[in-house]
């Protein structure tokens, strides 16, 4: 018995002694850092040769296997699944890949991607205001060179510039309908061309007029109308390098005063979601809500471009605003083959045919020029109103994430009466000046 135990002990102690080089381990660890750096360089050299080899291999068309995660809004999950099935059928060379589609809204996608880039989706749809943030977090890959020319020529110029950061095309335009216009109830609103008349009609009927003035997106309808400017320049890393903001100007004061006046109307409600609005007679909203508004107004459904308003200076201004876009992005990949498949799939999902099919399915207005020209799209009432409005809007460029919150703060300040009809022009100017300074401060 004792012998056995001794044998076991010896064996154990030998194993332990072998692994007991623990003391050396610490030294090795210190060297490790240097080694790894060197290794990384070596690796990257290898990668280059690999890449060259792979480029040669590509003729062989073996894309290997893998999984691709796609995030789109809940409303188009089924549609996207169907289209992906068609795509896989048409491209048997990608058969090694399984694609899963998850419902993640365009609003949430960016936040989730940034939390964990490596755990996020490979292809995802997002609203364009997030693009700079996504680029600087390293969550967007440049559009593949072979697709670039086609994307640029087939989509409307506004959508292409929305997908471009610092001269580099980072995403595939998906829709060109992220703009807003006026929905109204024909039986209440008699003249949709003037903001004052709309409000008067609504007040008389005891109904509500909805516009989300505490949103940086809707707010520009006033500021751009009077000729204020708000523009940023970015480098290709998504950093903001320069800003051109002219809110602190007489024009800015006119716009702000109009917002204050609108807020004072008892018919006014702050909001832009038709499904959440009550007792509505008119709402500034986008095409994505057209079916909800149709339910809401029934036979009295009508839409038009945004109205004009009369400024405090006596002049009449046409309300402006942003024309925005939804984009489809591909995440940076550690595997060339997978990246190629993702590129191809994203290009397909954003192609003209699929955009048109998507319009027919859920009514999202295409950014593809050919799809925009199709008879169905042209006949769409809401898209027509949006089209009219687009003449007065500015294609939305890149804005720092903080801008949107800052604009909400400005809108809230109007709504809660921090700045009101009683404020002097100097007060208003001071508020706009601080707004402008903060905006400029975002660009470094």
């Amino acid at each position: 018995m004792k012998k056995k135990v001794l044998a076991v002990l010896l064996a154990v102690s030998m194993v332990a002694a072998l692994s007991g080089c623990g003391a050396n381990q610490a030294a090795t660890a210190v060297e490790g850092a240097a080694d790894q750096a060197a290794e990384a360089v070596e690796e990257s050299v290898e990668e280059v040769t690999d890449a060259v080899e792979e480029a040669v291999d590509e003729v062989g068309e073996d894309f290997g296997t893998g999984e691709i995660k796609v995030w789109v809004a809940d409303a188009v999950v089924d549609f996207t699944n169907a289209k992906i099935a068609e795509f896989m059928e048409a491209n048997p060379q990608y058969a090694g890949y399984t694609v899963t589609v998850e419902p993640v809204g365009e609003g949430d996608a960016a936040g989730n991607m940034i939390t964990d880039v490596q755990g996020g989706a490979d292809i995802y749809a997002f609203a364009q205001d997030q693009i700079a943030r996504l680029v600087s977090a390293g969550a967007l890959e440049e559009v593949a060179p072979e697709n670039e020319a086609a994307v640029k020529s087939e989509n409307d110029p506004g959508s292409v510039s929305a997908a471009t950061v610092g001269g580099v095309l980072y995403a595939y335009p998906l829709t060109s309908d992220n703009g807003y216009f006026l929905y109204y109830d024909k039986s209440v609103v008699t003249d949709p061309s003037s903001l004052e008349k709309i409000l008067a009609d609504c007040e008389a009927a005891g109904k509500n007029f909805y516009m989300e003035i505490n949103s940086g997106w809707y707010q520009t309808a006033f500021f751009f109308a009077t000729g204020c400017k708000l523009e940023y320049e970015t480098d290709d890393q998504g950093n903001f390098t320069a800003a051109n903001v002219t809110y602190a100007s007489p024009e800015g004061v006119v716009a702000l005063k109009k917002m204050i006046e609108l807020n004072g109307s008892k018919a006014f409600q702050n909001g832009s979601a038709a499904g959440e609005a009550t007792n509505v007679a008119a709402i500034v909203d986008g095409t994505w809500d057209s079916s909800t508004v149709k339910d809401l107004f029934g036979d009295n459904y009508a839409c038009a471009k945004l109205p004009t308003f009369e400024g405090a200076d006596g002049k009449s201004y046409q309300m402006s605003g942003f024309g925005g876009f939804k984009l489809l992005g591909v995440k940076p990949q550690e595997d060339d083959n997978k990246l190629a498949v993702c590129d191809a799939l994203a290009a397909y999902l954003a192609s003209g045919d699929v955009q048109l099919a998507r319009y027919n399915e859920v009514g999202w207005g295409p950014s593809n020029l050919a799809a925009q020209g199709s008879a169905d799209v042209k006949a769409d009432e809401a898209l027509a109103a949006l089209g009219q409005q687009l003449a007065y809007t500015i294609p939305q460029g890149q804005y720092p994430g903080e801008y949107w919150e800052l604009a909400t703060a400005l809108g809230d300040s109007v709504r809660n009466g921090e700045i009101s009809a009683n404020s002097s022009d100097d007060d208003l100017m001071a508020t706009l000046q601080s707004f402008q300074d903060t905006c400029v401060g975002y660009a470094k």
Binding site: L9, A17, G111, T278, E402, D412, N416
Partner: protein
Amino acid sequence: MGKGIIRIFQTIGAAFKEGDFRCRISFLLMGFGQLLRGQFVKGAAFMLLEGAFIKYMVSFGARYFSKLSTLGTVATQKVRRKTIYGDNSFLILLFGILTVFVILAFAVLWYLNVKDNYEILKLVREGKKIPTNKENLASLFDKNFDKTLLALPVTGIFVFTVLPIVFMICVAFTNYDKNHQAPTNLFTWVGLENFEHLLSFGSSGMGRTFAQVLIWTLVWAFFATFLDYFLGLAVAILINKKGIRFKKLWRTLLVVTIAVPQFVSLLYVMKMFANDGLINGYLMKWGWISSPIQFWVDPMLARITIIVVNIWIGIPYMMLIATGLLMNIPEDLYESARIDGASGWQMFRKITLPYMLFVTGPFLLTQFTNNLNNFNVIYLLTQGKPLSMKLAENAGNTDLLVTWLYKMTVLDTNYRMAAVIGIMVFIVTAVVSLVVYNMLPSVRDEEGFQ
């Protein structure tokens, strides 16, 4: 504390000096001495743990630990279209700290091993019997039962509470924000920069905003705690009153707000109070008001509404607690007061309230600190809105420090500042607790209470 450390080193020294070869080899090869002396279970456990430690360090820990001082230097690069990720500062910091913990735990283990060896040796020299394996195991269910009971919970708390907290404290000293995000970008140590930013009262600093949010946090916690307390007490007294029937029914009706998950009830209440919600809708329909009451829009009104809604949730807790306690007050106290001609209010002030305050003092304190961090009520009702041009970093008029820091991480990925605010929250909570705790009349000697 100092004495303890000295004693530890004394033990180690003595074990080495006086120890035999078994004891000394155990310095390197843990559990060796125990094994040779027949304590296989204990010896093997020590040895296995040492093996596990070495394996962990070699295959995982050393990699991260060695980069902890720089948080990584290898940048992410692109080779044609492919991305090759460099060092991940986030994981280096996280697993670096984990490794520090593991090393510390191993050091403690090593000391225990040395001490145990030495003690066995002493037993042998004194000619006493060494505990057998069976006795060792059995002690885990008797003399050392506390170790068995606490092993898992303490480990869990270390990995899932202590580690993350240490991590976040460290983040406060780095530049981890939206421009320095792992895995694509590196972040690194910046010293006290973030604290200076928070406490600078210049035009670009956050000082003023921080002060306002902090004051509202304290005001909110005060009202949320004491209003609920006194109103809950009042309702409890009302229900307990002699002659009121269906006591159980009234209580049951009120506790519904505890039972229904808050995200259901509060989101509905939020919609109810909206400008275009039910309440404004009906008031306007009935012609009581001509334009909507700005419940969530006007900063002051929003704060008041939040406090009122919180009463709706908070009263039932207090009512339940008070109900039980009120019955404990001896009835003859009231009886004699009544004979002396005291009114109901006087009896409440002289008998009920002092008793309740005495008994529930610690509870009030915990309530207060909980309310300082009451995320759900604020976030589900207003998300900190309305915002204001007067506040920096997207802080809103109803933001508590915790909701503010949550928004910073989610909207702005501004972890560096969020971590600083987190530390501030801790300081505020700790100071309040410390000050109030020492003022409590009912702070008692724990042993004496048993």
